[in-house]
Amino acid sequence: MLSQKIIREALVRALSTGADYAEVFAEHTRQKTINLVSAKVDKIADAVISGVGIRIFKGTRCVVGSASSLDDAAVLDCASRVADALQGVPEHGDVLLRERIFGDIHPVRIVPAGVENACKIDYVREACLAAKEYSQEISQVTGWFLEVDHKILIATSEGLLATDRQIRTRVNVSAIASDGSENQTGSTAPGARKGLELFEDFDPKELGRKAARQAVTMLHAGYINAGVMPVAIENGFGGVIFHEACGHSLEASGVALGQSQFCGKLGQQIANPKVTAIDDGTIPGGWGSMNIDDEGTPAQRKVLIDKGILKTYMVDKLNGRRMGMESTGSSRRQGYQFAPTSRMTNTYIDAGEDRDEDIIASIEYGLYAKDMGGGSVNPVTGQFNFSVREGYVIRNGKICEPVRGASLVGKGSDVIMNIDMVGKNVARAQGMCGASSGSIPTDVGQPLIRVSSITVGGR
């Protein structure tokens, strides 16, 4: 992407006003989205994103700059702009770059860009048609295919020069069930850090039927009575509860500034002893996986919470300076236009010892959340929310009729104490997580869990 000569010149220029650290991040990304409506290709967006982001640190102060160009002149100009923000004299001489080659733990068999549109379209179409055929009540089906080929280069004044190529593929099917006056929706969207071999992991018809089944089920569902009750949350996307209620508050971006409910709690019990939570960027082919993070630190597997005890935060280099901690390979950015910060990768609650049937049987009256939508959190107050896409009432320990329109809200530090039963069967699911460093792919996950008491919003 950039010659070593230009990278070195840019680093030296960035350091010229007294910074103690400089970093060049260059990116060349190709991203294509194919949208289908009523099983026909409706729109295709096909983008090339390329540019450079340069950062310098002086202590805990940071200057960042970016430019939508990989031209030598534009890169050097960006380095000058960044340096202009400080007024000191250089502490560094020349920068000696040593290229490092990290292994690729996410091999890609079929590079999507090398395959014609028709093959991708056929797969999504098959899923859409299966959804439509599922029931007369399915009024509309939409679907999309996404491929991302994200090439990055990271060079720092410490001499690191590293590159990575991150290929991701994802498919979505969304179904609408309608009775003429009311609509309900269902959807599914698996993805992976893989090429088109993703298609071999899922039968497209099964994806379509799953979305349709959810929409039809919800069309015939009533509303849950709002209130505080026990909730059983299913594995897979159910893990969004940990992501929102706790995960964001363990990111150094908030912790280093005092903007987290879990500041100063290392070594302390912050969750129920049944809860062990892990952030693992090294899962082969995982949607949120990587070889190196966006500062060039190798991806890691970290136990965040061990039997309820807080073991570590997720730390990037800059916030690590504030906290006196090493990077945990957690620095991520959507692209060159975003300054990186600590983020999650594949984050999940680890398997426990409770049997699924015991968890359901333990609830006299409550909610079984089979599938979740997204959510959000205010890390300062810990107030979080997320929506239940497919829910059922539990009565006398049995899963009963479906209910729609439920959302779960609460305070993160309370809720993770209330996770008092944890099943054995962990599953992960894919999402896009938005924060200050942009929208990035992350996995959430967990086994079936019980939250002994939480506020359920409904009617």
């Binding site: 949208n35 409506v37 009523s38 026909k40 290709v41 409706d42 729109k43 295709i44 967006a45 096909d46 983008a47 090339v48 994103i49 390329s50 102060r61 940071c62 200057v63 960042v64 700059g65 970016s66 430019a67 939508s68 160009s69 990989l70 960006c78 960044v82 202009d84 549109n117 009024s139 509309q140 939409t142 609408i176 609509n183 929706t185 709002a226 209130g227 505080v228 500034l257 005092g258 903007q259 236009q337 939508g373 997204g374 959510g375 959000s376 300062v380 107050t381 107030q383 979080f384 929310n385 997320f386 929506s387 329109g405 959302s407 809200v409 609460g410 506020t455 919003g457 409904g458 009617r459």
Partner: protein, 447 residues
């Protein structure tokens, strides 16, 4: 190469390949921002970005490709990719390259002065200091920011259209954290306009007051309550549901407003306006994503759905004219449909009058989780909310950890009062605005 050079190369390649109908959409922006932490500048950022999208029509279908890499080699690839993509399109929707002949509005003279980096840092530090000075409970984690942005939007096409809009703005705001010894609370306030016009002490005071007003917030028993949505909260809802007014969503079976034009869909007092050149908008637009002239329109007038929003394709299908709402979320996006500055027209009464009309109930100042908890296809929403109790017509103690739920389409019909205290939030197309709104008997979940 520069955009002008790149454009000439693309035009040359299009001619060679005998592509008769095409368009180039270009955006360019420069921005700078400062953020503080404690009494120091934490981060200073300068960004310069641009990108170009090529759209061509092949056998009646539109193909898109975009790039940020302006080289001759990339120009050839851009056209080839767009052509290839056009061949894959199966939708029967007709695509158009817009002809000349519209009468375009004129942007008001831009009065936003570009602040220097030094001025921005100074203002951010003063604002930060004022927040700490406003109350002894203000804690570290409190942050101020100042940002400046300048953008250009340009569209040219094979029919001879050549348009450009420019915008620039300064933003300034604070996130205040207060610690009462046990818990942390946050509040915020921001302003846009000219840096020299900002009253930093006032912004600081409002951010801190916003945080302090939530101290001791608790939940309420679940039940039905009269709800006053403050302007900001109702604007958040309106902005989330703006897609239901898109003719594209209607034609594709994703909005319940199918066949509702000319019908009553809301209470008599409800008028909703889309105004691309609204004075509050930071990015006023004279043309949309297809080069069609924009204009102000009532989408709902006295409760009646007057028009859906259209781009050229949806208008052709419906047999009407485009409303100039062909929207591109970014230069690289395909053309969809969406509003610019979309707002609920003020009716009567101050915030106090609306609270007084509610009698007893809940006043909601903020809703969260809109991307998941509010579904435009069904209209259903169930959202985390924060605000205050209303007792005897007055705001009293703070409330948190509650959800408010309902259905957008039902709620439009049940709006009881609309005030005049307009509040605007930034949205995809510009801004979204609303005064305080009273809806009776809404479902609140709490304890």
């Amino acid at each position: 190469m520069t955009y002008q050079e790149f454009k000439e190369v693309v035009i040359g390649i299009s001619a060679e390949l005998q592509i008769a109908d095409y368009e180039l959409y270009y955006t360019e922006s420069d921005s700078a921002s400062v953020e503080t932490f404690q009494q120091e500048i934490k981060e200073y950022s300068t960004d310069s970005s641009m990108g170009v999208c090529y759209r061509c029509i092949k056998d009646g279908k539109a193909g898109y490709a975009s790039t940020e890499n302006l080289t001759a080699e990339e120009a050839a690839s851009l056209v080839a990719r767009a052509l290839e993509n056009a061949k894959s399109i199966e939708s029967e929707e007709e695509a158009f390259i817009h002809e000349k002949g519209d009468s375009y509005g004129v942007l008001p003279e831009n009065t936003c002065k570009e602040p220097t980096g030094g001025e921005m840092k100074e203002a951010a530090l003063v604002l930060q200091k004022e927040m700490y000075a406003a109350d002894s409970r203000v804690a570290d984690g409190t942050q101020s920011f100042v940002a400046y942005g300048r953008s250009t939007y340009a569209l040219c096409n094979s029919k001879g259209l050549d348009l450009e809009d420019k915008a620039s703005y300064t933003l300034c705001g604070g996130l205040a954290l207060v610690h009462d010894g046990e818990e942390m609370y946050d509040g915020s306030e921001d302003k846009d306009g000219n840096l020299e016009d900002f009253d930093l002490k006032e912004i600081a005071g409002k951010a801190v007051e916003d945080a302090i007003s939530t101290i001791g917030a608790d939940s309420v028993p679940s039940g039905k309550y009269n709800v006053v949505f403050m302007g900001r909260a109702f604007a958040q809802l309106l902005s989330t549901y703006d897609s239901v007014f898109s003719a594209e969503a209607v034609q594709k079976g994703m909005s319940l407003l199918k066949d509702k034009e000319g019908e009553k869909i809301a209470a008599d007092i409800v008028t909703v306006i889309d105004d691309p050149m609204h004075e509050k908008s930071l990015v006023k637009r004279t043309f949309d994503g297809e080069g069609v002239a924009t204009y102000e329109k009532n989408v709902i007038e006295n409760g009646v759905l007057k028009t859906l929003l259209h781009n050229l394709s949806t208008a052709a299908k419906a047999g009407v004219k485009s409303t100039g709402n062909g929207q591109k979320a970014s230069y690289a996006s395909t053309v969809g449909v969406g509003p610019f500055t979309f707002y609920l027209k003020p009716v009567e009464g101050t915030e106090e009058d609306i609270l007084s009309a509610a009698g007893n109930g809940i006043c909601i100042k903020d809703v969260s989780g809109l991307h998941a908890g509010a579904n435009p296809v069904t209209g259903d929403f169930s959202l985390l909310a924060a605000g205050f109790r209303i007792e005897n017509g007055k705001k009293t103690s703070p409330v948190k950890s509650i959800t408010v739920s309902g259905n957008f389409f039902t709620m439009l019909k049940e709006i009881d009062r609309i005030g005049t205290d307009m509040k605007f939030i930034r949205s995809r197309g510009g801004k979204c605005g609303s005064p305080s709104v009273l809806v009776r008997d809404m479902n609140i979940a709490g304890q």
